[in-house]
């Protein structure tokens, strides 16, 4: 259980960093002098959305493995 809590914290940290990326992008756009400054958001936000999916998928992977390990442990008992 302790191991899973650590993994949960890791996933939470990843999601937090992802949100911070989105914040930094939003903060940068009005500071840019280029005529196409909004394109930074149009390019980077979809990438962050994909990254969000990858992190959620990783959480699912951890859950699946923890459940499998617990089942194996129960079977051994």
């Amino acid at each position: 259980m302790k191991e899973f809590t650590l993994k949960k914290i890791f996933v939470w940290l990843m999601l937090t960093i992802n949100l911070l990326f989105a914040f930094v992008i939003g903060l940068t756009i009005p500071l840019l002098e280029s005529e196409s400054n909004f394109n930074l958001g149009f390019v980077m936000i979809p990438l962050l959305v994909i990254l969000n999916y990858v992190i959620v998928d990783r959480y699912h992977y951890y859950l699946k493995h923890t459940k499998r390990n617990e089942e194996e442990l129960d079977a051994n008992i």
Binding site: T28, E33, S34, S36, N39, V54
Partner: protein, 290 residues
């Protein structure tokens, strides 16, 4: 098309690495060879498009920030769109340096992005289970390393230019030297997605397989006819080193009870059928105890 049909008939090799099994479909290997360069070029074209020159601005401004932070140079980022140059570095006492898409280092990121995206997944469920996570990790880490190394490269070059070196002398040499980082990225990539290197080895194995089968068939036919086999194809079948072949083949033939006469291996008639059986194994002449 005939080549692909022949390849699809071959029993697929399995490569075991780090307790995982790697089996790739032929389609995924073809996709890697075609998809990776095309996608890398398309991503580069996307960033070379004027609408994406916000990237130029970010790279130029970050470089200028660090130049002024470390060397108190008084450098400035200037927006002056003309042709492919939209941004330039203004260096006190020197003529300005114009910035183009190649200076962002995006080309290296594009190449690795193309490779990482199109690296084939193993058909073994355990090996491909966390491939998306591993690919994402490789993509993010390689892109960040390339980006940071590129900015460090520009900081070094512009500082040398500021203190008086000729731009032509430092530009290409340092740019070429900084590309060593690609080797480090390949090593890192192999740590997270060994599928890339393994897929290259896999392709080699797959392509050489028909040749191996043909060689075995020729040896088999010759042994059936004359109880003799040529030594040259035998060396290739047994995967023996060219340098030590004469020594290795004599001890090997003694083990199996064969003799060598000139360029031929002579098999006693009573051992011919066993010879053919061992020859046609997946791993030729591998004893069960091995």
């Amino acid at each position: 098309m005939q080549i692909f049909e022949n390849l699809s008939k071959i029993k697929k090799p399995i490569i075991e690495y780090d307790e995982r099994r790697y089996i790739f479909s032929i389609r995924s290997l073809i996709l890697l060879t075609i998809g990776a360069p095309i996608s890398a070029y398309l991503i580069y074209l996307f960033f070379d498009w004027e609408a994406q020159f916000w990237l130029h601005e970010i790279v130029v401004k970050q470089t200028v920030y660090f130049l002024n932070l470390f060397f108190n140079m008084g450098a400035e980022a200037q927006f002056a769109p003309s042709g492919k140059y939209f941004w330039k570095f203004s260096i006190p006492g020197q003529s300005p340096i114009y910035f183009e898409t190649f200076c962002t280092g995006i080309q290296a990121i594009c190449i690795f992005a193309g490779i990482i995206i199109f690296t084939p997944h193993s058909q073994d469920p355990t090996a491909r289970e966390d491939i998306v996570w591993r690919k994402t990790k490789a993509l993010i880490v390689s892109s960040v390393i390339f980006y940071v190394v590129n900015i460090i490269r520009m900081i070094i070059q512009i500082n040398l230019y500021y203190i008086g070196y000729e731009w032509a002398d430092i530009h290409f040499s340092i740019s070429a030297a900084s590309s060593f980082i690609a080797a480090i990225i390949v090593l890192l990539m192999h740590k997270w997605i060994p599928e890339f290197i393994i897929s290259i080895i896999y392709t080699g194995t797959l392509v050489s397989e028909p040749l191996k089968q043909k060689r075995k068939k020729q040896v088999k036919e010759m042994v059936e006819k004359s109880n003799k086999a040529e030594l040259k194809p035998m060396r290739k079948i047994l995967k023996m080193e060219k340098k030590t072949f004469s020594r290795d083949i004599s001890s090997w033939s003694d083990d199996f009870g064969y003799t060598i006469e000139g360029d031929y291996l002579v098999i006693p008639p009573e051992k011919a059928s066993k010879f053919i059986e061992l020859l046609m194994q997946d791993k030729p002449f591998l004893k069960e105890s091995e």
